[in-house]
Symmetry: D2
Subunit: 429 residues, 4 copies
């Protein structure tokens, strides 16, 4: 939501049909979070496997606090906070809201209990329903839309964070036991699709929701390029491993080379050689890696080294966005229920652009020309992270339905790989 949108929204109200649609999407989103926690015990929900991850319970409470702090406290007259301590416990990084429980200690919060957090969710959901019994001011409506998208992001994190927890345990439990969409088989060879150069508009045009970092829409000069019709597969990655990719300094950025040697990385996260083959920890447990499925859980450093090894490069975020214009914004995302990336399913011109794995681009995550974060706490959402991260495009197998767009700019540090992150090759035309 851009600054301008917020300004314009200040005194208006929401149209009736949008009002109902918003309520429905809000409640569906709220319910989905509860569903995602269903297979998890209270124990599973309280522990934090690493600093980057958060406990399920924390995700459930933090997304709820977001509505309480930014919507209900301001727009529902007479709303009473569920518990005054919760702001300290469940604020994430909003400096302007006040002090907060330190991120690395989120996993210590055995109190408030899982039950208390479920009650908190019910309390806030009920208040949100009450809010919708009246006209909803447009500013509130804008913030609710942001809250829905915010909660959807946390749904994806909830799943990747649980995976990191389960993978760190000796028993390597499964989150859910579901079947693959495709029988394991070899992938077809990669084909490349060519695109002409020119000056093109990129970024969000303001129709419907977007994060502030997707705009302003502006022109970019793009040179002729070609883009692989599918993602890099496990089989291709294993060839890279077995060709000594992780032992060849010349393929790596200097920081990446230091990192993989300090950490002893010799494969993507969760992928292990085992009994002659390769097995992979995933949300469905520790299972043989499907050779034709997209490789996942690689860092930017690894993606960049692989591309160099293969004689290609990563696409820029603008090349990716431009290429995606011809493709419907659909793919194997969370709604499909696979919970893991699937092999390219057909001979479409460009496959796997949406869903399956987030695709690293060669673009540093920086502000678009003219970008200004929103005023107030919600302005801390995106802008303050615009340094030392890279843009990823397209969404993954655990991105909630309706949460992905061509202009979406996900961002992670180049060493991070606990998300479902993969890559697609590109080259100059």
């Amino acid at each position: 939501m851009s600054l301008t949108q917020l300004d314009r929204a200040a005194s208006a109200h929401d149209a009736p049909s949008h009002h109902d649609d918003l309520r429905r999407r809000l409640m569906e989103t709220r319910a989905l979070s509860n569903d995602l926690a269903q297979p998890l015990s209270d124990e599973d929900q309280v522990v934090q496997a690493m600093d980057d991850a958060s406990p399920t319970k924390w995700h459930l409470a933090h997304t709820t606090w977001f509505f309480e702090a930014f919507v209900l406290s301001r727009f529902l007259p007479g709303y009473s906070r569920f518990d005054d301590n919760f702001e300290y416990c469940f604020n994430s990084y909003y400096e302007s809201v006040g002090p907060r429980h330190p991120r690395p200690f989120r996993g210590l919060l055995t109190r408030p209990s899982g039950d208390a957090v479920r009650d908190y969710r019910a309390h806030v959901d009920e208040a949100l329903e009450t809010l919708f019994t009246h006209d909803v001011p447009q500013e509130a409506s804008t913030l609710i839309e942001l809250g829905i998208n915010h909660e959807q992001q946390h749904q994806e994190l909830l799943l990747t964070d649980i995976l990191s927890l389960f993978a760190s345990q000796p028993l390597k439990p499964a989150y859910r036991d579901v079947v693959d969409g495709e029988t394991p088989r070899d992938a077809d060879p990669t084909a490349f699709v060519s695109f002409d150069g020119g000056v093109f508009k990129v970024g969000h045009d303001g129709t419907g929701f977007s994060y502030d970092n997707e705009g302003p829409r502006h022109e970019q000069l793009i040179r002729p390029f070609k883009l692989a019709n599918r993602c890099v597969t496990n089989a291709e990655w294993i060839a890279f491993i077995e060709d000594g990719g992780y032992e060849t300094a010349g393929l790596w950025l200097a920081d990446g080379w230091t990192l993989i040697n300090d950490e002893g990385w010799r494969a993507p996260l969760y992928l292990e050689r085992s009994d002659g083959g390769y097995r992979q920890m995933g949300l469905r447990g520790f299972r043989p890696a499907n050779p034709a499925a997209p490789v996942a859980h690689v860092s930017y450093f690894e993606a960049d080294a692989f591309a160099r090894w293969a004689g290609y490069r990563l696409p820029s975020e603008f090349e990716w966005e431009h290429a995606s214009a011809s493709i419907p914004q659909k793919g194997r995302t969370l709604g499909n229920g696979f919970l893991s990336p699937q092999p390219a399913s057909d001979q479409a011109r460009l496959t796997q652009m949406f869903g399956d794995v987030w695709e690293w681009t060669a673009s540093a995550y920086l502000p678009y020309p003219g970008y200004k974060p929103a005023p107030g706490a919600v302005g801390e959402y995106n802008g303050k992270f615009m340094c030392n991260q890279f843009v990823l495009k397209g969404g993954s197998c655990v991105t909630p339905e309706g949460h992905i767009r061509r202009t979406y700019r996900n961002f992670f540090y180049p060493h991070q790989r606990w998300q479902f992150t993969g890559l697609r090759l590109a080259a100059d035309a």
Copy 2:
């Protein structure tokens, strides 16, 4: 249990009355662990607040594994292990048993679940009952005795570890809500009891259970000394704080001075100045500190600096043991239910020697002359820690009944203070 005891025990059997007594004490101990976990949710039981601490669930499972690995597998024919993965999960530090889950990651074990661990306990308890339906070989009986004492130690740790978890949380919950034994009041002034010097026997004489580190019994030359009739109180410690004790380099060992400045220590753990007074986090929550109660949660460095400030010194472990000879081995331990150290309750010659707080001594934790650890895994119990730690005597408010002895040698590193550790002053006569 000493090496000699084990050797002598090899082919003998347990006498009938001891057999029943042992069974009863075993089952009471096993039941007490379950009781101690009662006020805690599964969430509380899975989390680890710091590397030194372990989760409640881990304590419950590890003490159970001890009986499975060292008793049932060897002495109950046909015993089948509850789950083969548990040895990896719940071995603590027995190198000779095999690899194990790393200590700092004990708090990640959301699986096996709390229910599974309770089932594990029931399974092992049932097998132990079965074992007692027959003659119990004396070697098994010796190991069961060790297992009881081992579990008692973990009961104390369970409580101090939960305190560290609860203290680290914003809500600072209470473990149990019980009342103090004594109304807050000022303590009587310290009196000193004098003891003559001489060559005295110290260490365990082999009657009844003891850890191997309590023997061999041997002679020590003790010089005339005097010992305070009670522990140092919170009020006395606050006087030390307010006299600038934590800012006066000359009072401190060099390593202690570095530590308190690096860590910013200006008070015992869990003690905070608050609204003009002092409050203390304890198992009964965050409450005003009782001035007459023994100070607790001080490190050796702090105890040593306090003694220097007060113009005294800490007693040696032998002085303490020798002085205790005139005192019954009783005190306010776990059975009293106070869950916090209490003011000296009367005008006895020496009070608070047993219970309330562990008392730091000036003795490095080193082997007694002629000490040899037992062969096999249980020999890793005590001996391999004989370096850089100091001996503490007397037990605390959370030491289980029957677990304390004059000859008991507890040991912690000089920087550690999450146990109920306090001090008693001494001087040359």
Copy 3:
């Protein structure tokens, strides 16, 4: 030097006039390094103040090794290496050359001695003179040109590294005692110069020397913008400090906010409040900060926060390069001898673009379209650092004469600030 240049150069020879010019510039550069070390004792030259810095002796030897390894060993028949151990000691980061002494331990190398390194320089200089008595193959000539520029970079580092060493010492010695070019005075207010937008060519056109990262020359779309006519001054920075800039979370990138709080940064490196005023450690010792001089030794995080506070932004590297087209490539660099940045000296349209301080841009240091590093070890020069760093433009008061270009892309991590790094404000037109 681009890949293409290297390829074309393979069998050609250098033209006579270029031959003489190259020899002269080479020998001047070699002599300048010796001159820069003149004010320093052997002790000053051996010590390393921090991991990022290197000892003077190491700079002197490493730049010499570069000529030995890449030029003399290949192009001077019968050349005998001065000492076979020196490659291990003085290789910097060329993975493809072989193992090397770890960077953080460069300061341990008391042997080879300062005298040995001076002999090494003389030995290599003599061999280089011998090389020039014959025709120099163009490939060698290209590598010598690279070697000159490489040594010039190390000359700048030698001075900033010595400053970091001297600043870390209690006596805060001066490197040289020279006078300022300008009397301390207030700076004129900043004026902004406007530029039209369009598609413009940027990057090096291949005429004369450039590093490979300056090309290929290519088109960039630039939007209308305006650029400050001078750098931000110490006085303006002090206003930022005194307005609470370092205490206002909303001004900072999240990583910067964490960094300045972890490290306790409240001012640029080397700038200290002292007796009511501000003093600054520099190559001329610890002296009052000139209010009108450009602020130096700020990190990207600080530059970015300052710009936000001031209501502006940093320019992109392309805006800077485009704006510089109207300006001669001259400024107060090392040849001027001031050894510190000087106040803007006149009312020129754009001042201080070259020299004084390196100017942080908002551009991540990434490859230009079509960039490919040179094959072989010299290809490790620039490309492998293209991650997590930002581009700086314009050179500083300690950049050697002739070493700066419009297209020059210097790069440092956003937290680094031991170079003479400052900033110039920009805005959308």
Copy 4:
């Protein structure tokens, strides 16, 4: 020097013959430090190889500051300090004297220069000579005696610190090129000498100089024991290595086992397998290890594990002191000039007790009964380190002549091994 000695000394003066002897010993000690620095360049003298070590220049200046701060400033009327900054630079750890340059940064002090420090030494030596032209108050005399011994300790450290520097460099230079005293040969088998038990006096009796930590003289109960007639040799240690000593958990204290695995220790410091044999870095360079020479540069953890492997134990400090009573206080120390430990040279009942290597004892470094440190800064000399260290006895090949005593208590942390530290086996009789 004990507190009592200081008190008694306050108003007395030194006897004439002691006056001359003290002056002579002082000047010889001062001259020896200069001699020891002779083979080292200014570069060698300024660098610090690790936090535990100090640069030669720092040793030379710090020992000089000791006389300036504690003797000349108080007892030479009109003495003017050489440079007021030097106290900050060259105070080691005397908290009561004031702030000081942090230990890990001692190696940054290129200024004051080596020349300045040599001038400082000459300035202080001259002032000390002046002091001796008059009667020397006994308090000064006592402090001068302490200063001599203090400087002798730093002479030993100077050599071990230079060894650590030279060993960390790729060129592995020799400090001096001297010959061994003995031709390499096999050592004779160890014999054990038996001693009766009893209550014996230990500690310094106050005749002549001693450190405060050597007293008060007091009684200790010693049990019958036997002591090896020589130190453990390199050949014996290599047998331990080759028997898997470093891979056998059961031999190690828990902290030692963690340490050797974290650090990858598989041999004593400076000992390396090389071309089938073993080589050792020493003050005479990198040379084949003499099998019959005492093993050196082992930590307490290693010494303790070796003894356990061999079926013995380390002696207590009291056993060692008691056994040494029959032996003259002579050995191969610094005056012999070997600069490395030598094989046991004859069939004496007990050999190598003094000199060659410091011998780890099983005694924690704790105060003797009744110990009180001296008041004032010199009281920080020994007492504040009485925690987590172990006592070593007997002196080494680089201990200055006249600096060793039966009652001398050297102390190091159990992980430290850059001194010439070895061991001698013991057992219960």
